[in-house]
Point group: D3
Chain length 137, copies 6
């Protein structure tokens, strides 16, 4: 069993805002992140799969295929987008780094299975100071 | 003469959109950057001053003062903001990295003079692949 | 269960020196790190908490609170300090990266519990080549 | 139990090519990596050991010794080499990042035991986008 | 006048070897870099153009166009290649970082002029420790 | 004319303290940097030479020689040292990043001339946020 990690990127706008709260409470809890006019980030996405090495290729998975999958399923839909407004599979989701990572995990896991390997972890960094990691349970 | 550079950050939303053009032309020229719902970046800002070394302190400028100035004048006004909507001194400016760097230079130069030194350059990176540098002329 | 990591910094002086050994033995074991006049590092501290996501906020923990806690409890006491001389909770501790990480873990764990989540790991890097990670047991 | 990671480097040439396949199939599977004239990388190698802290030194392992071991056993034999042609213990191995990491693990594990501690993981990055991690089983 | 820098990458094999010298002299001068079986690097390429800002776009140059040009003219021809064997415009050139940077400058300068701006500098890093910068004269 | 930059490192302790001032004034001006018990940094040193390319080698300077020179003249004398106490050529110098860069420039310039090339700039970073650059005049 070996773990392979591919890094991809997307640049997106978002805000943290709970519509069931008053503006004041949003401001108190989320601070600057609640700015109604949005802010944004250069997100770094690390997708880790685990599996055994195919003796013919030396690969757990062909990274060309994994990278293409991440781009098609995730980055093309999130890059240069507004995470709150533009992404169908994030409707109604509070776009915290935690929730974006979980949504990405759940979206990629079955697709990575079709590539013949298993998704192990999603690590998502909003800035170089703030990262989350999700293992699917 | 020695050059001192301080790095600061701000995370902001923006779009590249020329209101005098059709949506199609904006899409052609600016691509994904023209998304009407905005996207965003973690901006890295490098402020370089030049001057001679004060023999009492060993400093060209006290970086505590320079950092505080950059935060007050620039980062507090740009961080977690929408560059197109929220920043009074960017009204009517196309928020390309080039223009944001020029605006920051022009805003900081007189304030840095009040600190007793001279602004040499503003370097602004929108991503780790795209940076601009402006020397004031 | 999801893992959230916050990065903070502190710059400190220290030396590695076992007072019960001769200077020669200290030199043999610790090399340049035993310099009696100290040396120093820019330490990078990664604090990882684990928990479930609060559906109201999308957060495991509010990073404003976690960051403030790390600064109050750790960075304010270690930054621009001498780890061997200035830090009450490191008295008598050999200030290896291993031991500094363990001390930080033990100091932060109960405080992070008060924030309503659980400390998972402390990762501490002395240089970009040397890091340790401690999980509390 | 605490984990200590040392980073080392080597710069090497290699290609991904399965000699039992046609050139066309190699091209299809490995793409540019199958270039018969080789390509190369700056590899980053992270060696993680785990153990308890020696109370006399504060160390799990003396990083001078661990670094010297990694250089002698691995980097001196891989740095500025052709991984397919020049490395006796990689003969007949497809030089994917996965396989290089496994070979390094198996070579270092017994030697690190002689240093009095245990190899926990080998992480090997071929580029800043592609890394693998192997824990020995 | 403002300066815009685009970063691109290529991974390549090469060796430093002067065919008019003995193997011993090559070994003495170039050390490990003279390995006849090649070694390789992840090269980082920074292309800086200078110009004035187009008031319609806010751009010195459209980075989509600049990036596409660098990829077509340089990266597609160098990436996953052997710099000594595979690159027609490097035939007979000692593939030091200095010379590769100069060749890239001379190849890109006229093409960037066709984009309507001017090449200012090529910065090329062979490793994070070794970089060269060339301004065309 | 081409510019070649070599990066080296040293980890050192220091403090900023003007002995002709009161402790209170030192504290006011230098803040935490005036801690009498020292603090420290991982310094990054970038040495840039300029010259023409030797057609036999493709080099401005052999980086093995430049690196060895920087280590002998600078890093061996500063690494794991106290910049205020341990370095003969820094006696009486306020150890600001500015002054350390100037001292390094003046020490390296004549030695680099002996290597047959010219020192262009010293860039010294105390942290990833604070750098200075000195060109010798």
């Amino acid at each position: 069993m070996i773990y392979v990690t591919r890094r991809e990127h997307f640049n997106a706008a978002h805000k943290l805002y709970n519509e069931s709260w008053s503006p004041e409470k949003n401001e108190t809890v989320f601070g600057k992140c609640a700015n109604p006019n949005w802010h944004g980030h250069n997100y770094e996405l690390f997708v880790t799969v685990k599996g055994s090495v195919n003796p013919q290729t030396g690969f757990v998975v062909n990274l060309k295929d994994l990278s293409a999958l991440i781009r098609t399923e995730i980055c093309d839909k999130l890059d240069h987008k507004n995470l709150n407004l533009d992404v169908d599979f994030m409707q109604g989701v509070m776009t915290s780094t935690e929730n974006v990572a979980i949504v990405i995990f759940n979206k990629l896991a079955p697709k990575i299975k079709e590539l013949g390997t298993n998704l192990h972890a999603i690590k998502l960094c909003e800035t170089e100071n703030n990262c989350v990691e999700y293992f699917g349970e």
